[in-house]
Subunit: 134 residues, 2 copies
């Protein structure tokens, strides 16, 4: 397990940098989508909803990769390969609301939480590649 | 093969939107990195250099995915799954220079071309998911 250096963890924790998470389809081909990202000091966190394609892929195959470029500096980036070690609904609604404030400056719309089960996806970093993070 | 609608192809052709391309490692796990992107009317184009991890992965397994978020509008995104149908050095130096002008407003540094073989990677879109592209 690779602990993220502070310069890299900041890319996941600060500002409104969009992450792009790659998962593996049932046929072995890759899939990638943009996500809000966070870091809890040990894991990269992604918040998704039950039933989404990436969640179904992760439940089958926990290997993922995630890359991020700083919104204000295209020369600052990180690319991480790792493994999802936990998918949990615990605290997921509070977490999406926290991310909504960071990314959108406002509450996550309560009506969007009706009929969906938010999930926190915890990624243990394995390999980390970075350029220009500071 | 899915031809990209104009609203989507613009995400790949205009502005300085960063794409994130996912490939598959030898062990079947995913890898994802940020790239400059383009579209030639039929294929999504990525410019890389021979020997890079993503190029080695693609030569082994042509299935890729690529996602993009508009730099000026986080609500406008596309996620594409597809297959690399060609990897060619033809025109790759001119192409990286064109991309450098689009993304950086200047020539690609000539010294960076010494000792590296640039390649154009042509991706045939298969499945396209989009939100908010216009």
């Amino acid at each position: 397990m690779a602990k993220l250096e502070e310069t890299i963890s900041k890319l996941f924790q600060e500002g409104a940098n969009i992450g792009h998470i790659a998962t593996v389809m049932p046929d072995g081909s890759p899939q990638v989508t943009p996500v809000w990202i966070d870091y809890d000091g040990a894991h990269i966190l992604v918040n998704s909803a039950d039933g989404r394609l990436k969640v179904r892929n992760i439940r089958r195959n926990p290997h993922v990769a995630i890359s991020v470029v700083a919104r204000d500096n295209p020369y600052s980036m990180a690319s991480v390969r790792g493994r999802v070690v936990e998918i949990t609904p615990d605290g997921a609604n509070q977490h999406i609301n926290k991310l909504s404030h960071r990314y959108m400056g406002q509450d996550y719309p309560a009506e969007r939480l009706v009929g969906e089960q938010r999930l926190i996806i915890k990624i243990e970093p394995d390999r980390v590649y970075t350029m220009g993070a500071r």
